[in-house]
Symmetry: C2
């Protein structure tokens, strides 16, 4: 791995623990065995590292996932279940040659979600990147629904945009809920919601 990605990787890894703004250059230098000089050669300033991380580690995710889902065979509900589980598994790296996280197994979806939310909050200059990402996810759900309607796998008397909103809401909801509400397991959240979603979309 080149130095630039090394810096990004170690910063990402540190940021996951307590937020990007709470990671100091000193920490990055000590943990990653890099020096101030290297950092400021590759990046304009500290926030430039964040921008690079967001673009490299986060925004590529959906494109990758779409490719993966293309090869996945199953009913709409199975595809949805796969989607939900895939995203909380955060299989970064397993299917991607862009990302080179050396510690792939340790990316926790809760920390990942919290980091994204905090970055969105505290770095308004990056918000458009997130808006575009969410638009992509929305389109993904809508296409999944329209395809299923075409194949007559689910009921057709319902607006695909509304259903996409509904699915997206539940997706965001159980991630958020399982993050800040440890009473139940993630599996419980996903399966309970899938069951009620199914009641709504079956023919």
């Amino acid at each position: 791995m080149n130095k630039k990605d090394k810096i990004a990787e170690v910063t990402f890894s540190l940021a996951l623990k307590c937020g990007f703004d709470n990671v100091s250059l000193n920490q990055i230098e000590d943990t990653g065995n890099v020096t101030t000089g290297a950092i400021y050669y590759h990046f304009k300033d500290k926030n430039d590292i964040l921008k690079y991380i967001v673009e490299m580690y986060i925004l590529k995710e959906i494109e990758n996932f779409k490719k993966i889902l293309k090869n996945y065979k199953g009913t709409p509900l199975e595809k949805l279940r796969f989607t939900f589980y895939y995203h909380v598994g955060l299989n970064i790296g397993d299917h991607s040659d862009i990302l080179e996280l050396s510690d792939k197994t340790n990316v926790d979806y809760k920390q990942h979600h919290l980091l994204l939310t905090s970055v969105y909050y505290q770095h308004q200059e990056l918000r458009n990147l997130f808006h575009n990402m969410n638009l992509e996810i929305f389109k993904f759900y809508k296409e999944l629904i329209e395809e299923s309607i075409e194949k007559k796998e689910i009921r057709s008397d319902i607006n695909s945009e509304d259903l996409a909103i509904y699915l997206f809401t539940i997706f965001k909801g159980f991630i958020e809920l399982s993050t800040v509400f440890p009473k139940f397991t993630l599996k419980k959240f996903i399966e309970t919601n899938l069951e009620l979603i199914f009641e709504n979309i079956k023919k």
Copy 2:
């Protein structure tokens, strides 16, 4: 308002904009016309202000809301709609004599949600307070459902705990979604979801 609450209020107001950790004591002093001396007389350290804010401004919310909903007459769906709209309206102050926000109208539910999430993320010492809050909300939904089943207003062949998870998920989901996804209005998110919820709970 006494000095302690003045400090808390101005800190809360500043924190809403870009996160608690990004507010400096200097900012608090300048904005609130208070001095270092006053701050450290009333609070142990900076994080002690946050703890006070969380306890005063956030955790009391549910208790207040429960009281309000008791006086609200309507069907379960109407109660749910009221709940959803109430919480994004964040009617802090309108019904509470505990809170004394001088700038009540400016509390934006998106900023409020982002602040809570960031605080949860970056201040692990406060997580238990949030867990308890979420448990209270969960119990609220569960009781609403059980009451509705008893009154035979909704279908009874469904587990009240599962339905509570479902409602809570959607609540968390549309808050999160409308915060980071400006394509649609909040009203669109709420109404679309309510419609599909209704399909699930009607007799």
